[in-house]
């Protein structure tokens, strides 16, 4: 599974998101490649799931990806719920 985390520059919130998602998936025993990127580099990337913040919704939602939105990139508990729900929906 390919997951891409996105933020404006590709090195702030997307990187923190990537690290937290890596940790969560490792704990759950789910294998996935998680990559952080900036908004400009997203188009063309192959991703089963894109994860970004609510704030960037308008810039990501019409790109044809499955997108999960988070309020906080550092709240791991909330992030875990959102990610596991999103992954569960992918499998349906």
């Amino acid at each position: 599974m390919n997951i891409v985390t996105v933020c404006g520059m590709g090195m702030g919130s997307s990187l923190v998101l990537k690290m937290n998602i890596d940790d969560i998936l490792k704990q759950k025993g789910i294998k996935a490649e998680v990559e952080a990127c900036d908004l400009g580099s997203l188009v063309g990337k192959v991703a089963d799931l894109v994860v970004t913040t609510n704030e960037l919704k308008s810039q990501v939602e019409d790109k044809g990806y499955n997108v999960a939105y988070v309020r906080s990139v550092i709240d791991k508990k909330a992030l875990e719920t959102i990610i596991m729900d999103a992954i569960g929906n992918l499998k349906k």
Partner: protein, 146 residues
């Protein structure tokens, strides 16, 4: 690594700012004083919010202004401000902001270690509570070192 970047020179507590822009400039100025970034980088951090929106408010009450390495970064650096009165950045989810960490990264990989430590730190509710209540830089530095 976080402990090497956040020092008595790059941490300011209970600062007074009128708005988000002043907060970014104040945090950015600490990076300029460290000789870690050019003045142009401070402007780029402000411009990023104006152009891309207040997405740098990445968690409730917490903003992480940054720009690109090519906007004038000389070396990896961070600065931390706590605000006496929280200010709005225009982010409906996470306003108002009480803590600002400005970030200067030379590329997308070298600051990963510092960011990982920062992510763990920000996730630590006890430490975050202490940071909000303390007025001594040394107390904050002790929290960061551990």
């Amino acid at each position: 690594m976080l402990g090497e970047l956040l020092t008595k020179d790059t941490v300011r507590l209970n600062v007074k700012v009128k708005n988000w822009e002043e907060a970014i400039r104040m945090g950015g100025q600490l990076l300029v004083q460290e000789d870690a970034v050019e003045q142009s980088y401070v402007e780029a951090m402000v411009r990023a919010v104006k152009e891309l929106g207040p997405y740098i408010v990445i968690a409730p009450g917490f903003a992480m202004p940054h720009a690109r390495a090519e906007d004038g970064v000389k070396k990896i650096a961070m600065s931390l401000l706590t605000l006496e009165s929280p200010v709005a950045f225009g982010n409906p989810d996470n306003d108002p902001v009480a803590m600002v960490i400005c970030l200067a990264a030379v590329d997308h990989t070298t600051h990963i270690k510092a960011m990982r430590e920062l992510a763990v730190f920000l996730n630590d509710a006890d430490k975050m509570r202490q940071i909000k209540s303390t007025r001594e830089v040394n107390d904050i530095l002790a929290l960061i070192q551990v």
